[in-house]
C-alpha cells in the first residue's frame, strides 16, 4: 500500500487521484474525531469537508515535519474549535430517550445480538458520550486522540502543541473524572431499571 508520505508527494505534484486516496483513507477517522468533538453529525460532516479542502489547499505548505494524519487531526480540531466558538456551543450528548424498537432492530450489530443487548449498548454509548461532553475540552481531546485514534503521547503533544507531561496529566485527570461520572450514571441506570422492573410487576 502506498504510504501517506508518498501520496502527499504525488498530490503536491498535482496528482489529484493521490489526494482522493488520502481522503478515502482518512475520511472515516476524521469524521469520527469531528463527530465526537461536536456531537453533531451534520456539523461533523461539514468540518470533514472543510478539513480536506484546507488540507488540499495547504499541501504545498505541508513540509512533512509531522505525519500527514497528525496535520489533518490538527486542522480538524481547529475547525471544531472555531465552530464551537462561533456557535458558542458545547458538545452535544444525545440521550437514548424515545427508543424506537424498529429503529433498534435495524441497528443490531449482529443477527445474534438481542434487543436487550442492543439497548444496553446504546445506553452505554450515550452514557460515555454524556460523560465525555462534560469533560474540559483539553482532557476530552487528549482522551479522544488516545483512545479512539491510538496516537502516541508524542503525537498528541505535537497536535495539541503542549509538553508530553501535560498530555499524560490530561489523560490521567480525564480518566479520573470519567470514572466517577460513568459510575454515577451506571448507578442511575441500574436504579431506573429496578424501578421499571417493579412498576411492571416484575414481569420484565
Amino acid at each position: 500500500m502506498t504510504s501517506d508520505e508518498e501520496l502527499v508527494a504525488l498530490a503536491t505534484a498535482g496528482d489529484q487521484d493521490a489526494f482522493n486516496q488520502l481522503v478515502k483513507r482518512w475520511e472515516r477517522p476524521i469524521f469520527a474525531l469531528a463527530y465526537r468533538t461536536l456531537g453533531r453529525e451534520e456539523e461533523a460532516r461539514d468540518v470533514v469537508q472543510d478539513a480536506f479542502l484546507r488540507a488540499y489547499r495547504g499541501l504545498k505548505g505541508f513540509k512533512g515535519e509531522a505525519k500527514f494524519s497528525s496535520w489533518l487531526y490538527r486542522i480538524t480540531l481547529n475547525l471544531c474549535r472555531d465552530w464551537m466558538r462561533k456557535e458558542r456551543r458545547a458538545p452535544v450528548a444525545q440521550t437514548p430517550e424515545g427508543v424506537d424498537p424498529i429503529d433498534l432492530a435495524d441497528q443490531q450489530a449482529a443477527p445474534t445480538e438481542s434487543v436487550e443487548d442492543l439497548v444496553a449498548r446504546r445506553e452505554m454509548s450515550a452514557a460515555v458520550q454524556m460523560a465525555m461532553a462534560d469533560l474540559p475540552e483539553e482532557q476530552r481531546t487528549a482522551i479522544m486522540l488516545k483512545e479512539y485514534h491510538g496516537l502516541t503521547f508524542q503525537e498528541i503533544a505535537e497536535i495539541l502543541d503542549c509538553p508530553l507531561s501535560t498530555v499524560k496529566t490530561r489523560l490521567y485527570q480525564g480518566l479520573s473524572v470519567l470514572r466517577r461520572r460513568l459510575e454515577r450514571q451506571q448507578a442511575v441506570v441500574a436504579s431506573f431499571r429496578r424501578a421499571t422492573y417493579s412498576a411492571s410487576g416484575g414481569s420484565r
Partner: protein
C-alpha cells in the same frame, strides 16, 4: 495516587520503557491504591469503546480523473497544420507520385518509407493545379528534408512561409482536414513517428520528382 502517576499512565497505555515497566509492576504489587486505580482505569477504557459513531456517507466528491486529451489535442497546432499540409499535397499529387515511386525510387527507400505509413490520397483543394502542388511539394519538403526530424523551428517556418504567401485557403482546408481526419494511432509518440515517416516518404517523392524533372529538362 502516589507520585507514580506519569509512569502509571505510560504503563496503562503500553508506552512505558521496559525498565519503567518493571518499576511500575513492582509498585503495583505493593500499592493497593494504585492497583485499584489501574483496574478502574482499564474498565473506563473498556467503557469508552462503547461510544459509537454513525456510519456517515462520504462527504468528499473525489476529484475527477485528469481528462484524457484526445491524441490530436496533444500535437501542437503547427505540427497538425504541417502534417495536414504534407498529407494533402501528397494526396493531391498521388497519381503522379505513386507512379514515380514505383518506377524509379530506390527499392530500399521506397519500402522503408511507404510501407509503414501509407497516406490515403485526399482531394486537392480547389484552385491549385497539380503542377502548382508539385512545385510546392518540392520547395517546402526540401526545407523539412534539411533536418532529420520535424523540428519546431522548421515546421514553424513552413507554416509561416505558407501564411506569407497567402495560402490562406489551403491552410484553412488543411487544418480542417487535420481536425476531421480520424487517426487510429492513439498516442502522441506514435503519431509523431507517423509524421516522420510521412516526411521521409515525401522526401523520397520529391527526390524522384526532381530526378524526373531533371531528366525532362535534359
Amino acid at each position: 495516587m502516589c507520585d507514580q502517576r506519569e509512569r502509571v499512565i505510560d504503563y496503562l497505555y503500553d508506552e512505558a520503557a521496559p525498565a519503567d515497566r518493571r518499576v511500575v509492576e513492582a509498585h503495583l504489587e505493593s500499592c493497593s491504591e494504585c492497583r485499584e486505580e489501574m483496574r478502574v482505569f482499564r474498565r473506563v477504557r473498556e467503557d469508552l469503546l462503547a461510544w459509537e459513531v454513525p456510519n456517515a456517507q462520504s462527504v468528499w466528491t473525489p476529484f475527477a480523473p485528469q481528462p484524457v486529451m484526445p491524441w490530436h489535442r496533444l500535437i501542437p497546432a503547427w505540427a497538425m497544420a504541417t502534417a495536414a499540409g504534407l498529407m494533402i499535397i501528397f494526396g493531391s499529387a498521388g497519381g503522379f507520385a505513386a507512379a514515380t515511386l514505383l518506377s524509379s525510387a530506390p527499392a530500399a527507400t521506397t519500402a522503408q518509407a511507404v510501407e509503414p505509413a501509407p497516406v490515403a490520397p485526399l482531394p486537392a483543394p480547389a484552385g491549385l493545379s497539380d503542377d502548382e502542388i508539385v512545385r510546392l511539394v518540392r520547395r517546402e519538403t526540401a526545407r523539412i528534408a534539411a533536418g532529420t526530424t520535424l523540428e519546431a523551428s522548421q515546421a514553424e517556418r513552413l507554416v509561416a512561409a505558407a501564411a506569407s504567401e497567402q495560402w490562406g485557403r489551403l491552410q484553412e482546408y488543411l487544418t480542417l482536414v487535420a481536425r476531421e481526419r480520424e487517426f487510429e494511432r492513439k498516442t502522441t509518440e506514435q503519431t509523431l513517428g507517423s509524421l516522420r515517416l510521412q516526411v521521409q516518404t515525401l522526401e523520397a517523392i520529391v527526390a524522384n520528382l526532381a530526378t524526373q524533372q531533371g531528366r525532362g529538362q535534359q
